[in-house]
């Protein structure tokens, strides 16, 4: 059974979630699609959790980071390139350019895996904002 982490971390704002229960269910299916997809391609479930944890931390959300408990894989050229990209797109998305996609390719990451990684990074940045917005809105 998948934990509904948005509901769990929304705090006092949880009752307002009923207004868009369909979209909260859809958000949960999207979490599964990027964290534990049926076909993970070249990005394992463990690697995905490690990336999700890192993005939660970069956004100052330790409780969400704990939801994605994972051991970071050993560092090599590929993993370093992935983490560099995760950090850039999470913290300074406006600075991303064609060269950053080229850097992933140069580290041996195939195009479908670049898209998988992009969806994971982008989803996490959605999820942290739904939680942060709810907590601000009904504090």
């Amino acid at each position: 059974m998948q934990t509904d982490i948005i509901a769990e971390l929304a705090g006092a704002a949880a009752p307002v979630l009923a207004h868009r229960a369909d979209l909260m269910a859809a958000s949960l299916r999207n979490e599964r699609a990027v964290i534990a997809p049926d076909d993970p391609g070249g990005l394992s479930h463990a690697e995905r959790r490690a990336i999700a944890r890192r993005i939660a931390r970069l956004n100052g959300n330790e409780a969400l980071a704990a939801h994605y408990a994972a051991e970071a894989p050993p560092t090599d050229t590929r993993w370093s390139a992935i983490l560099r990209h995760v950090d850039l797109v999470t913290t300074h998305p406006k600075d991303a350019t064609r060269n950053d996609i080229q850097a992933l390719r140069a580290a041996g990451i195939a195009e479908p895996d670049i898209v998988r990684l992009s969806q994971l990074i982008a989803f996490m940045n959605y999820q942290v904002r739904v939680i942060a917005g709810l907590r601000a809105a009904v504090a």
Binding site: L17, L23, N30, L58, T90, P93, S118, G133, A136
Partner: protein
């Protein structure tokens, strides 16, 4: 690359991917199924064909995005577009800005609001629009900076908790969309 657009506009632009789009005729069964989520009466865009490299995520994301931006009730559609536009400005997704600024103008006929938002000076806007822009800009920072004070400004401008939640969702989904569209391609003026 001289025709790449770097300034905010509400004019129609073309999105050029950095990643090779999936060729529909060569798509797998899973990719075709995910692509069915997009309207069948229009040509499938390069953006959607790039995302088809990850069919499970594409298939799940499309109904979520549509529900957030077009779902019935709650926050008026134009105000969701305003939140989406401001998020896209913070993340400098020129293409997303062009699409959603144009939709806002189409819905409200208020070109002047968009002009002020592009200029980064909202002092001439209504209290409600100022509160929307401030909340959207702060929620789009990393880490997010929106506070109960920002939410109180929305409530003071007449927004219900359910409507504030819709604004949160429309800003957050652009924290997602901008990180795809701006990261995986670039906008050009149509030929």
């Amino acid at each position: 690359m001289s025709d790449v657009v770097r300034d905010f506009t509400a004019d129609p632009l073309v999105w050029r991917p950095y990643i090779t789009p999936v060729v529909f005729e060569q798509a797998t069964a899973a990719q075709r199924e995910a692509l069915m989520e997009t309207p069948s009466n229009t040509k499938i865009s390069d953006y959607v064909l790039v995302l088809a490299h990850d069919p499970q995520s594409l298939g799940e994301r499309t109904p979520l995005f549509n529900g957030i931006m077009y779902g019935r009730g709650g926050l008026p559609r134009a105000e969701r577009e305003l939140g989406a536009t401001e998020a896209s400005i913070v993340n400098r997704c020129i293409y997303c800005v062009s699409v959603h600024a144009a939709r806002y103008i189409q819905l409200t006929k208020q070109q002047d609001v968009i002009r002020q938002v592009f200029a980064g000076d909202t002092s001439g806007l209504s209290a409600r629009d100022q509160a929307i822009i401030a909340f959207a800009a702060k929620l789009s920072q990393c880490p997010p900076q929106a506070t109960p004070t920002d939410a109180a400004a929305l409530r003071a401008a007449g927004m219900s908790d359910a409507e504030i939640f819709d604004l949160v969702l429309s800003v957050a989904i652009f924290g997602w969309a901008n990180r795809l569209m701006h990261v995986l391609g670039e906008p050009e003026r149509p030929a």
